[in-house]
Symmetry: C2
Subunit: 223 residues, 2 copies
């Protein structure tokens, strides 16, 4: 039994002037016309922008490679589906009979698409600032969780300190390759910690090392 959209509005702490937009945002494409695919397109684009702007502000010393990686770590199907589950969004999805039977309301892709569609619907219903504020609210704890790489410290320094602090093996960086034209070089660096290895790319060796350190912090759950 699909729950009423009104209950969802209480959970997400929102109101909609145009309820048809809300219903559309919850309607999977298996429902045919009036489904959420267009709103998802819109929501995906405002989400990408809002998070980019927030990261730009939050990490004044991070270069664009790190900003891109941070954004990718926040905005992906898995994390969106997680947020959708926190909101119990699956209980409100309007699915065709086939999807309903096969448990579509539990599927990451469907949950993530519907959450993006809700962002797009709110944009249409109440404008940019309202949608932006809601997105930042949804991502608040995840954005706060990025604090370790905030401020003046770069990922390499943080990784070094983290390992020193817990008296563990220090990270080791190995240049694996270097290619490309002089104005567009690509460096590939491995970062080793214990038995774990990650790879970083960058326009300089230093940038590649920072990328690799960030990926390692990610694995060690420190970002």
């Amino acid at each position: 039994m699909v729950k009423s959209p009104d209950k969802l509005l209480k959970i997400v702490d929102l109101d909609f002037h145009n309820r048809a937009l809300l219903v559309s945002a919850l309607s999977h494409r298996s429902m045919g016309a009036g489904n959420n695919e267009r709103l998802e397109f819109l929501g995906d684009s405002i989400l990408g922008f809002v998070i980019a702007e927030q990261l730009y502000r939050q990490f004044p010393d991070a270069d664009e490679g790190i900003l891109s990686r941070l954004r990718a770590s926040l905005v992906n199907q898995k994390s969106l589906a997680d947020i959708a589950r926190e909101l119990t969004l699956g209980d409100f999805l309007i699915l065709g009979p086939g999807e309903l039977k096969s448990g579509g309301f539990r599927r990451d892709s469907i949950l993530s698409d519907a959450l993006e569609a809700l962002m797009g619907a709110l944009l249409k219903d109440q404008g940019f600032e309202a949608s932006k504020a809601w997105i930042l609210r949804l991502f608040a704890s995840r954005l706060d969780g990025l604090n370790l790489v905030n401020g003046k410290k770069d990922p390499k320094t943080l990784l070094q300190e983290l390992q020193q602090g817990s008296k563990k093996e220090l990270p080791e960086y190995k240049l694996k390759s270097q290619s490309g034209l002089p104005h567009k070089k690509v460096f590939v660096v491995e970062c080793h910690v214990s038995k774990q290895v990650v790879i970083g790319h960058g326009a300089s060796r230093k940038k590649a090392e920072q990328e690799a350190a960030l990926a390692m912090l990610d694995i060690l759950k420190q970002v």
Copy 2:
């Protein structure tokens, strides 16, 4: 000789409160610290969003596949570099000696990055609405040029009418493959016109055909 940023402001019909942001937006990474890479990250994200929102509004009957394709046709390195050239942006770029020597001010990637960085700089300097307005101004003629697929007509109809109108060979569609799980099928269709062939993908045969028709209109310079 690099021209003064003041002259650029006249050409782009903008003013900047914070001139340092403007200088930064014009500075290629070959200049080291304070270059435009972070601003480009920001500009790229607002550009994607602003164009997505505009297309959503402009094409109320287009599905998300068509909206994505239209956006990709507007927002890409080549079209951004073209706009940058219309603004003579290359004359204002601040490049390191190596890039200067090798003609970096003429390179698509450098021009396109700098234009995006300018969008990001305007966002930081004057906020969302100002940057959005400028972006829509820059893309106005290109957005108008999309009018053929506006209104109620879908790409297949348009392509058919276009060929009929000019008494040319009518388009032919061929289903090439169909794959994926029942809830996530992917159809691949070819569209043939004279000796030209393009491919469209979609969640249904009809959507794949519309995508292919749009790609063909693109090739025939009708989008």
